[in-house]
Amino acid sequence: MKSLSLYQERDSIIHEIEPINKLLYILTTILIMIIVPSIKCAVLCMIISLMLLLKANVIKKVLPIINFSFIILISIIIIQGLFNINNKTVLFNIGKIKFYKEGMMYSALIVIRVINILCAFALLVLTTKPSDLIEDLVRRGLSPKIGYVLSSVLQIIPQMTSTMGTIMDAQRSRGLETEGKLINRIKAFFPLIGPVVMNSLIATRERAMALEIRAFSSKNKKTFLNETKSTKLDSSLKYIFIAAVILSIIWRAAIWTK
C-alpha cells in the first residue's frame, strides 16, 4: 500500500518517544539557533540531531532529504562567498573569482542551520507514524476534523493517483495520446481532468456520507483505541527543552548586558 509517509519502522528508543516531544525538539532547535546566533551553537545542535538520527537507525534515510536541498545550499555558499556585504578577507581564488572569508563563514552558519532544521524534521517524520502524530495532537486539543483531513490525505492521495492512472489507461485505450510531445500532453490534459475531478468529487461525497454514518460529527468526547505511551523520559524531555530555551535566553541577555 502506497502512502505519503517517510516513516521507517525500527526498534529504537527514539521511535518510542511521544510525537509531541519530537515536535518540541524541532521548535527548541530552531529557537536556540535564533537566540544564540553562533556557528558553535549551530554545530552543537546539528551534532545532537545527527546523534539522535544515528540512535534511531535512520541516518541513511536523511541523506536523500539533505541532497534534495543541496543545490540551494551550494548557491547560498557561492552567493555569500562572493557578494556578502561584509566581505573583506580573501579566503581563496578560483581563477579570477575571489571567495571571501566573511561571506563563507556566514554561509556556513546558514548551511548548518538549514541542515540542522532538516535533521530535526527528519527525526520527526522518519521515526513517527503520521497517524500517531495526528492522534497525539487530537488528544491535545486539535480538532478531530482537522486531524482527519491531515491523516486521510496521506492515504487517499495515492489512491486518487491510482484512480487517475486507471482513467488515463481508459482514455489511452480509446486512442488518446497522453505521452510524447508537450503539445500532446496538453491536449490529453483536458479530456482527463473532467473524469478525474468528477470521480474525486463523487468519491469525496460518498466518503463524507460514510463518515457521518459512523458518527463523525458526534458531540460526544472522542476516545482512542490506542493507549498513550507517555513515559518518564517523555515528561523529562519537556522540561529539558524548556530549560534549554531558557538557558539560551539567559546567555543572550548576558551578552547584551556586557
Binding site: 497517524s131 482527519y148 468519491a203 457521518e212 458518527a215 460529527s217 458531540k219 483505541l225 490506542n226
Partner: protein, 281 residues
C-alpha cells in the same frame, strides 16, 4: 412495535422538478429482512438515505412526510444519534474506508472512537465484528490492501461494531465478484439471525428472493407493492417496473407451476414444486 415507520414521505433534490420519493408509506418490524427492488432511478438509494437521515440533513431539497425509527423522527435528529440506531453500507467499498487508519482493526474502531466508547468495550466490539465478518485474520493489514469483498465486509464490520438495530445495505455487492458477493450475503444473513433488522437494495433477485421476509417494489419514486417475495415475484407486470424475477420463478411461470396462485422464488421450493408437477402429469 414497528421498528421503522415511513409516512407519506416526499422528497425532491435541489434544482430539480421531479419528486424522487413520491408519497411513500410503509412499516418495518424489528428483525425483518427487507429487500428493496426497482430499476435505476426508482428512488431506492434516496429512500435508504432518508431512513438514515442523510436526506434531508446531508442533501438539502424539498422534504415532506416523516421517517420514524423507534418512534424518533430522523429528520429532526442529529445523524450521529441516528447512526447509533441505523447503520448504512454503501455501494462502493473503496469510499467507505475512512483513509485515516492504517490497519483494519483501527478502521473498525473509527466510529467507536467518535461515540466515545471506552477502550475495553471498543476492543470487544471490534473483535466480535471482525470475527462475525470473517476478516479477523486481516486485522493488521492496511484497509486499502484488501480485496473488494473483504473491503465491503470491513465496511459492514465498521457499522455493526456500532451495534445499530437496523443496517441498510445499498447495493453492497454491485462491484464484487460472485465469491465476494457470497461472502457479503453470508455475513448479512448472520446479522439477520442475530435479530438485526436488515434493509437491502439489490439487483440480484435470486438473493433477494432467498433472504427477504418482505420485498418493497419501487418505481418512479413510488411504492408499487410491499409484500412477501412469493407475492411480489408472482406479479405478471414486473417487466414494466424494470424487474426480472428469479430464474427459477421464470421457469415455473413458463410451465405455470404454482401453488395457491404463487410461483416459487427459491431453488429448493422450485425443485419441490417441479417434482410434484411431474408426479401429477
Amino acid at each position: 412495535m414497528d421498528k421503522i415507520v415511513v409516512e407519506n414521505l416526499k422528497y425532491k433534490y435541489p434544482l430539480t422538478d421531479k419528486l424522487v420519493l413520491n408519497d411513500i408509506s410503509f412499516k418495518i418490524e424489528k428483525g425483518q429482512f427487507i429487500g428493496i427492488i426497482g430499476q435505476n432511478g426508482a428512488g431506492k438509494s434516496t429512500l435508504c438515505q432518508a431512513i438514515t437521515g442523510l436526506v434531508p440533513l446531508f442533501f438539502k431539497g424539498a422534504y415532506g412526510g416523516r421517517v420514524l425509527v423507534d418512534g424518533i423522527e430522523v429528520a429532526k435528529s442529529n445523524i450521529s444519534d441516528i447512526s447509533l440506531k441505523v447503520g448504512m453500507v454503501f455501494q462502493n467499498p473503496f469510499t467507505q474506508v475512512t483513509g485515516s487508519k492504517l490497519t483494519v482493526y483501527e478502521e473498525v474502531a473509527f466510529g467507536l472512537e467518535n461515540i466515545g466508547l471506552n477502550r475495553e468495550e471498543m476492543k470487544n466490539r471490534i473483535d466480535e465484528a471482525l470475527n462475525l465478518l470473517g476478516i479477523y485474520r486481516f486485522k493488521d493489514r492496511n484497509p486499502f490492501d484488501l480485496s473488494g469483498g473483504q473491503m465491503q465486509r470491513l465496511a459492514i464490520a465498521g457499522i455493526i461494531a456500532m451495534q445499530p438495530d437496523v443496517i441498510i445495505l445499498d447495493e453492497p455487492t454491485s462491484q464484487l465478484d460472485p465469491q465476494g458477493s457470497e461472502e457479503v450475503f453470508k455475513a448479512v444473513w448472520d446479522l439477520k439471525k442475530r435479530g438485526i433488522t436488515i434493509i437491502m437494495v439489490e439487483h440480484k433477485m435470486e438473493k433477494i428472493a432467498e433472504y427477504s421476509d418482505k420485498v418493497l417494489l419501487m418505481h418512479d419514486g413510488k411504492v408499487i407493492d410491499f409484500d412477501t417475495p412469493e407475492k411480489i415475484f408472482s406479479r405478471d407486470d414486473l417487466m414494466q417496473y424494470g424487474v426480472i424475477e428469479p430464474a427459477y420463478t421464470r421457469i415455473c411461470k413458463a410451465f405455470d407451476i404454482k401453488d395457491s396462485g404463487l410461483y416459487p422464488v427459491t431453488l429448493d421450493r422450485a425443485c419441490e414444486m417441479v417434482v410434484k408437477y411431474n408426479e401429477h402429469n
